[in-house]
Amino acid sequence: MEKFEKLHGIAAPMPLVNIDTDMIIPKVFLKTIKRSGLGVNLFDEMRYDRSGNEIEDFVLNKPQYRKAEILVAGDNFGCGSSREHAPWAIADFGIKCVISTSFADIFFNNCFKNGILPIVLPQEQVDLLMKDAEKGENARMTVDLEAQEITTSDGEVITFDVDAFKKHCLLNGLDDIGLTMEKANAIESFEAKMSQERPWV
């Protein structure tokens, strides 16, 4: 997995609440057996008309946000299905950080597995960052994971919380499976115990 350390980039504002996984990546694109190449279909039904032409007023189609690397979004971002195609599409587009007042649990976890940092902040701070993002490409934010700080284009600093283990994995680009396999002994002894206590499983 790609490391996430410090990001300095354009933030795009998406104030709509309850942006669901069907909006992020409609099901017609779930038929792939690969992880890559979904960025072009990110937010497909909001981004293109039926003939595949870009809808001008959709945020990521605006010239100033086409290279956005941060998304500032409305509440409950990523609700709905467990499809990891959602973070795959976001990452493939080039977005590495999503900021909102809340995320759906499964989506939130899926982000960390794909080098994306989801940040939860109180409403006032999201509002402030939303305003900053609305300034367009001249307003670049900095997200520093090590320091757990976001710096706005005006130099205002906002701190954020992140789970220590998830932070460690993101900073170092660690593969979960490799880490878990180091604990194979614990899994084996758990299984041995279970075969005695709950043999029907």
Binding site: N18, L30, C79, G80, I106, N109, D176, M181, E191
Partner: protein
């Protein structure tokens, strides 16, 4: 020992390793797999030279892409992409040696219907699947939730999941339900109350008399939509209704093992005085048959209500409601029962079980669906279909004018050929009314099976109590 919730007990029984910061390796008893969220995970194993850790605890079935029309064994019925995905599951299931129900098997169906039906899902288990509606299995008092594909690969490789414990939330439905009110109305009413983010970070335990009174099918409907309330998992403590349902299923324990299992299962309840971080209580008798008007499952109203106005809401929901009304083509103040529909979809992991089909038959028996309406019933599994035929339900449906389909996810998410066209309006027993969910620009109203049946007869959203 301090009192524990049901969630605490199941969690504690599955922690294989706990780090100092509380990050746990949770042991997974059952891993269900379908064709959409697994190909990249199997590919990951292959590339790393890894095996499936416990193929005997891994159950695969294709459901999302499969056509539900006769002759579907013919690959030409699927788009090439769908076919590749189903064939990939076929190949992966064989290569890695996991349990598998192919399309040709009568036991094939929606993964969340097949698991319980075959006795794979048992009380006190941990169950995961690369599908958010895994919450369904919580009806058995199993800790069950959806995971992403990276986690699917993690579980395949290690039979564990890296997890931190969620918080405890209690949803109590007191008293009795009124006639015409079903499990679907309970679960939608709860989401209407809490919002789609109300359960975020929690595991919900549903309890109270109205929950106890539900059959296993009804309990599965309630837990299925826990995720629509934001909770990864919903739970209902196992009781005699649960044990009765499980007993004798193909993969349920037998003989002495059954007795041992039963003894443990009977300890799976929330202790008196256990702490819940959040509590929501609804009165069963206050719940009415409900319907969704918007594009979020929280957009719930009693069928007797009128379409709301964006000004009825606050904050970000004002704009969301405006967008939803525009998308749905509705006008504030319009009576919900005046909304005419084009299509009725009955099925899905929410409402594709035998009891759901019985409820539909009760409403439509001896009646005809509205002229020009498209109405389909998609049983949740081949066995549900067979049982409905044996009970004579299929004849009732066909005589009424319904299409009687083969098992699959079908129009719930429209990955197979069953889709809404632009502007087409559907009363659906499924679980999501998101934009585009049932087809590009399709419009979905979520309802119970009985309400869907009533709408099929009249051609508009209808209070089923008027047909009773």
């Amino acid at each position: 020992m301090s009192p524990k919730t049901l969630y605490d007990k199941i969690w504690d029984a599955h922690v294989a390793h706990e780090a100092e910061d509380g990050t746990c390796l949770l042991y997974i008893d059952r891993h269900l797999v379908h064709e959409v969220t697994s190909p990249q995970a199997f590919e990951g194993l292959r590339m790393a030279g890894r095996k499936v850790h416990s193929p005997d605890k891994t159950i695969a079935v294709p459901d999302h892409n499969v056509p539900t029309t006769a002759g579907r064994e013919d690959p030409a019925q699927m788009t090439e992409e769908s076919r590749i995905q189903v064939e990939a599951l076929d190949k992966n299931a064989k290569e890695f040696g996991v349990h598998y129900y192919p399309v040709s098997d009568i036991r094939q169906g929606i993964v969340h219907i097949v698991g319980p039906e075959q006795g794979w899902t048992l009380p006190g288990m941990t169950v995961v699947c690369g599908d958010s509606h895994t919450a369904t299995h919580g009806a058995f008092g199993a800790l069950a939730h959806g995971i992403g594909t990276s986690e699917v690969e993690h579980v395949l490789a290690t039979q564990t999941l890296i997890q931190k414990k969620s918080k405890n939330m209690k949803v109590e439905i007191t008293g009795k339900l009124k006639p015409g009110v079903t499990a679907k109305d309970i679960t939608l009413a709860v989401i209407g109350e809490t919002g789609t983010a109300g359960g975020t970070g929690y595991v919900i335990e549903y309890c109270g008399e109205a929950i106890r009174d539900l059959s296993m099918e009804g309990r599965m409907t309630v837990c299925n939509m826990a995720i629509e309330g934001g909770a990864r998992a919903g739970l209902i403590a196992p009781d005699e209704t649960t044990f009765e349902y499980v007993k004798g299923r193909p993969h349920a324990p037998k003989g002495a093992q059954w007795e041992a299992a039963l003894n443990w299962w009977k300890t799976l309840y929330t202790d008196e005085g256990a702490h819940f971080d959040k509590v929501v209580t609804l009165k069963g008798e206050d719940i009415q048959p409900v319907v969704t008007w918007g594009t979020s499952p929280e957009d719930v109203l009693p069928i007797t209500a009128t379409v709301p106005s964006p000004e009825d809401f606050e904050g970000g929901k004002v704009e969301a409601a405006r967008r939803a009304l525009d998308y749905m083509g509705l006008t504030p103040g319009q009576k919900l029962t005046d909304i005419e529909i084009d299509t009725v979809f009955i099925g899905s992991c929410t409402n594709g079980r035998i009891e759901d089909l019985r409820a539909v038959a009760e409403v439509v028996k001896g009646k005809k669906i509205k002229d020009g309406l498209r109405a389909m019933i998609v049983p949740g599994s081949g066995l549900v279909r067979a049982q409905a035929e044996e009970e004579g339900l299929a004849d009732i449906f066909k005589e009424a004018g319904f299409e009687w389909r083969l098992a699959g996810c079908s129009m719930c998410l429209a990955m197979n050929p069953d889709q809404l066209s632009e502007g087409e309006r559907c009363a659906a027993t499924s679980n999501r009314n998101f934009e585009g969910r049932q087809g590009y620009k399709g419009r979905t109203h979520l309802v119970s099976p009985a309400m869907a049946a009533a709408a099929a007869i009249t051609g508009h959203l209808t209070d089923v109590r008027e047909l009773m």
